[in-house]
């Protein structure tokens, strides 16, 4: 078939604008949404979760409580209607451990630290005695502020064993939704809704927890010998894109 003349930008633009796409008529969904909003919420799982969360606060970090859902060494425990504390975005830093520079953090943990290539070096780095490394990226174009804070993205790297048998579930539970996603071919969850607690098994076999502090969505995925977690208000797709481009810290 002979090749045709190349369309000019203006002509292609004109033809695209003139394209009369056949959209079906939008259904009226207000009553269906109303009915959904007025459905009684399941009580039992949330009561159990609240009790477990309270127990967790009492028994500290060596607890052996494990939730039903998880990825790798991490179990996810939902807090239900337990709201996160006031001022959480400001106080989040106090829960992340010692502030260090990223190269010091690298020397303190036994796994290679990785950062999203397009974001570059983090604005702040923290290390917990349990070996969890947290990076904070300040809010900027493409990284909207989380919960009215100055934080645009919080990334945690958690060392631990893997348990692939728990991967691949899609669970809808009350107001929190876990969606199974792929992060550069690695299994993960996109978690939206209420704050939650992550239980994880440390390399020495003990179990510990990380409490979700920021009121936003998070992505949890499994790496090699580590589990990553990103809290971000940038949306599912952009967060997964950032997670898919991890590079070793130079």
């Amino acid at each position: 078939m002979p090749r045709r003349d190349r369309l000019s930008d203006a002509e292609l633009d004109r033809r695209l604008r003139a394209l009369d796409v056949e959209f079906p008529k939008a259904p009226h969904l207000d009553q269906a949404v109303l009915a959904n909003l007025r459905q009684p919420k399941p009580r039992f799982p949330w009561r159990v979760a609240i009790v477990l969360a309270l127990l967790a606060a009492l028994v500290a970090s060596t607890s052996v409580i494990a939730g039903a859902f998880g990825i790798g060494p991490v179990r996810i425990l939902f807090e239900g209607s337990m709201a996160t504390p006031n001022g959480v975005a400001r106080s989040i830093r106090s829960t992340l451990g010692q502030r260090v520079d990223i190269h010091t953090a690298q020397s303190m943990v036994g796994f290679p630290l990785e950062i999203p290539r397009s974001l570059g070096m983090p604005d702040e780095t923290y290390v917990l005695p349990t070996g969890i490394v947290s990076f904070i990226y300040h809010a900027r174009d493409g990284l909207p502020a989380i919960d009215n804070s100055d934080i645009g993205l919080l990334m945690m790297t958690i060392a631990g064993d893997t348990d692939p048998g728990l991967i691949g579930k899609i669970i809808h539970e009350g107001q929190t939704t876990l969606e199974a996603v792929s992060v550069g071919g690695l299994p993960g969850y996109w978690i939206t809704g209420e704050p939650h607690v992550l239980w994880y098994r440390m390399p020495d076999g003990r179990e510990s927890q990380v409490q979700s502090r920021l009121v936003t969505d998070s992505l949890l995925w499994q790496g090699v010998g580590v589990v990553y977690r990103m809290e971000s208000a940038a949306g599912e797709q952009h967060t997964i894109e950032l997670a898919s481009e991890l590079d070793r810290v130079p």
Partner: protein, 188 residues
Amino acid sequence: VEGRPPDDVSDDVLIRSALAGDDEAFAVIVRRYEDIAFRTAFVVLRDGDAAADAVQEGMVRAHRALSRFRREAPLKPWLLRIIANRARSLARQTQRHEELALAAYEAHPPASPQSAEDQLTAAEEQQELMDAVNELSERDRVAIGLYYFLELPEREIAEILSVRLGTVKSRLHRARGHLRDRLERGST
């Protein structure tokens, strides 16, 4: 309906009412944006039933997240971002999107033989362009759909897709290049 807020109330008033527990106020928001929300979901899913599911589920999620909405910002892009995310999740779950296609309306009946010939040519060109759009990657097709078919500004598309403005521009540029190549080659 008694007790239902009138449809001309501002988004901000409706949001405040919904946050205070007035579900009917949120129903007005749903009615106000369901058409553009449905079209946004349809551009992603290319299936009317699935798009309706995405809008319904997305609106419920938006209601739950309403307390996190920054009220100085416009509501529409925030709502459409939630709907688009839900639509993309459904697209991944159903795995049916390769079988589906956007379609263009057929041309109106011709007024004369000459115009009939012109109209046939125009209809063929339109179908060829529609086919080319359907062959784009999902990312590029959605960018084209939101920009040209829903006539949304690039900055709003960036917000809906949770990407930078430059990313939207580059996706549109890349998509136009693919379309131009495809049209140059003709039907295969």
